[in-house]
Symmetry: C2
Subunit: 479 residues, 2 copies
């Protein structure tokens, strides 16, 4: 059947052999692998449309793929489906310094946008750790964040317009170049929909002027709770840092061993606080933050003395994942969010769970917006360790929900967190999600079996708050 793809695609745009499709069998969540029926690499919009219409007619699943850096299995192929690589759509179509926007194809790398905008003194704000590799289509599909999203928002806050194909090959313009768009907000709906609603073919992003001044403070604490207090204090003072990151001892020690940036390895936690803006405001806020850090009990506070040192402070943070990877044959990166005020409690509970499961954990987080990335260390070659790591991870996410948070900050649900979606949402909410899916893709061909679990799966998982035909709404108790 897949050989019919040659009818409308050039020979080198269709990969069918086992060997040829193997490089596409997983994404950044390498614990899951699956070879697709076929991989296609179309060159033109018309070719993409034909692929979609082919799949739509024959009810063949379609999984879109950018750079394959998803950490939740978002680009994991479907066994009977087509893996649609958008790698060839890698052109920056327009940079407009007046309206401060860039129009780009989905396969353009995140960092390439900022590089192209640099001559105009502009940049694209969201900066996932994988920004050197990950592409903007995937960023939109996952509503990617990054170190700077505390101040500058997630992907959804930094895009204006999308052009997308629906599963039946219709071409939609979503959002607009102007302030707001009439009709339902499909721009936000499509952003973070993990490839389940449409295929993103063009993105207009906002560009920001580079700040006049950037400063980074590094603060070391002998107790992780004190670091948590410092975070709360900074935010409570009305300061919005460009980035506010925390690493615990395990994470900062691993980073230091890996990249040798001079982190204080005895500290139980370090905070990195970046302030940007105009020079006077930055200087004043650096002084304010320094005082707050001192009051919170920081043992040591360093201000990066120059751009080189600033980049060095960040180099440790940015290499934290691979650095932790060196401590253990495998690690499992979690991604939960919590209201900031529960930071200390949650860390304590994670530490208890670590003992229960007999697995070490290193903590790296976007502390400013309560986005945790616990890295669970394990060895997949030890029988049962992968399963224990997954169970441990699941418990962490359920803990996030328990304190009023969510099971994903920026990595998406994908294949990975389907069970935890049953904890996060009740049957009515999941049913509403499925209805929205049906509005775009009634045959469920786009990235099937991901992101939104079926009610059946939740019932099996045992976590669904089944209503037994009764509405439960605790809010009523107010009355």
């Amino acid at each position: 059947m897949f050989s019919q793809l040659y009818r409308f695609l050039p020979k080198d745009s269709v990969l069918l052999s086992d060997e040829a499709v193997r490089p596409y069998e997983c994404d950044g969540l390498s614990a899951y692998t699956q070879r697709p029926g076929a991989v296609v690499l179309p060159n033109t919009l018309e070719e993409v449309r034909k692929v979609l219409q082919f799949c739509h007619r024959r009810k063949i699943p379609v999984v879109a793929r950018g750079a394959g850096t998803s950490l939740s299995g978002g680009a994991l192929p479907h066994k009977e489906g087509i893996l649609l690589s958008l790698a060839k759509f890698n052109r920056i179509l327009k940079i407009d310094p007046i309206s401060r926007t860039a129009q780009v194809e989905p396969g353009v790398r995140n960092l390439a946008i900022s590089q192209a905008a640099a001559p105009f003194g502009l940049y694209y704000a969201p900066d996932p750790s994988s920004q050197i590799a990950c592409t903007i289509g995937g960023n939109v599909a996952e509503n990617a964040g990054g170190v700077h999203c505390l101040k500058y928002g997630l992907t959804v806050h930094n895009i204006l317009e999308l052009k997308v194909f629906t599963i039946d090959g219709e071409w939609l313009t979503i959002g607009s170049q102007a302030l707001d768009s009439p009709g339902y907000d499909l721009l936000a709906l499509m952003t973070g929909s993990e490839g389940l609603l449409g295929i993103i073919m063009e993105v207009t992003v906002k560009l920001l002027p580079k700040p006049e001044q950037v400063q980074v403070l590094l603060a070391a604490f002998d107790d992780i709770t004190k670091a948590g207090t410092a975070v709360a204090d900074i935010i409570a003072a009305g300061i919005i840092p460009a980035g506010l990151e925390m690493m615990d001892n395990a994470a900062l020690r691993a980073a230091e061993e890996f990249v040798k940036v001079g982190y204080p390895v005895e500290a139980q936690a370090i905070l990195l606080c970046e302030i940007d803006g105009n020079t006077e405001a930055v200087n004043k806020q650096v002084a304010q933050v320094t005082t707050l850090l001192e009051h919170a009990g920081a043992q040591e506070i360093r201000l990066a003395e120059n751009e080189q040192q600033r980049l060095q402070f960040w180099a440790g943070r940015k290499s934290a994942f691979p650095a932790v990877g060196r401590l253990s044959p495998d690690y499992y990166c979690m991604d939960g969010t919590i209201p900031r005020k529960h930071l200390a409690t949650v860390l304590e509970r994670i530490s208890e769970l670590s003992k229960t499961y007999g697995l070490r954990v290193a903590n790296v987080f976007h502390a400013g917006d309560g986005n945790l990335h616990p890295l669970i260390l394990f060895d997949a070659n030890q029988p049962g360790e992968l399963q224990r790591a997954e169970e441990f991870g699941g418990k962490i996410l359920e803990l996030c929900v328990e304190v009023g948070g969510t099971i994903t900050g920026e990595h998406g649900v994908g294949m990975e967190k389907l069970n935890q979606m049953c904890v996060q949402f009740n049957a009515a909410e999941l049913t509403q999600f499925h209805a929205v899916k049906t509005a775009f893709d009634p045959d469920r061909l786009l990235n099937p079996e991901k992101a939104i679990p079926t009610l059946h799966r939740c019932a099996e998982f045992g976590a669904m708050h089944v209503h037994h035909g009764q509405l439960r709404f605790p809010e009523l108790e107010r009355f």
Copy 2:
């Protein structure tokens, strides 16, 4: 049939007589009037749920209403339907100064939130001109903006969580108290959906710390194009004012006659530019903006010397609509957005249209984000004038679309701009909107016949870019 409402609602919560329902026959767009079959004013969530289930079973239309300040007919009743007033849900449930959020019922007035948050040094940023009267439920339904949304965003950027009833009485929690929410972004989808997708029963809004310093500059120009250039220059310099507003001679003269705030009545245009933030940054930016205004050819630049004068500068702007209302028996307020760079062209074209239609127009706009509010002056008692005003307004909106803008910035589509939606969107896009509606309200009972026109209506209006079974996508021409 409506008398059955008494079965589950207290007597004083149901209005049936012609006299009793008359006050609800229109909203802020008073050119349209319609009495509903019944008005209900429920007191509890349970009562609201019963009303919805009653309507759902009997296929009765439901129109929700807050304060009725909509300028696009969003709260216009349906002849055979129930007008669901949420006026009794007016409690602020919680102010949390630590997480900087407020949980409020939909009938709470916009300004009341900031008043309740003031003791904590906090406020709610979106500030529609009607903020003294309009309620947060309506703000969410219309994705309301205001003078400060240039810097602080629209309603959608300032809310975290919604609790809503679906038409069949299901209770959904949408969004979350944390950074981001998994699943599809129904929070943004619901925001601005004009009452067509669900009934908003609780809103968690973000609160912001009051800025340390606020300054306002007033600049007068002898030519409106120069004022437009000044706007572009300020934005191009990387400055994001808290507000950046323009008024043309007709508008500023009317405002001056009405409130006597000392506006320079000979000016062809004035700009009001508010800068907020920390004191040093504000002082520096005020100096920068002053230089830019001088270069752009401002004849006069005034800095408000104290808080009283600052409020006076704004008092003129905030009273512009009623002030213009004194120039003429009636006026019609438009609400289009355009990319800022087309400001001068669009103003010129509006001025030409004004001559063509023989109707005066006064221009007030959120210049910073390209959101125009031309006020068309007419006399409804002169035969044909209302119709001419509506036609003129339609042309202005189509002009906005032509230059890459949209037909509404912050007032919504409602009853008013259904025809212009046919200009803004093609058949595939409108079809997708209807599919989304079906995912929430398959019987089309919630606020029917508003916001999204049927394809039939567009065909009658003659503006639909019908595809004749062919996909048109000009983007393909690139290849």
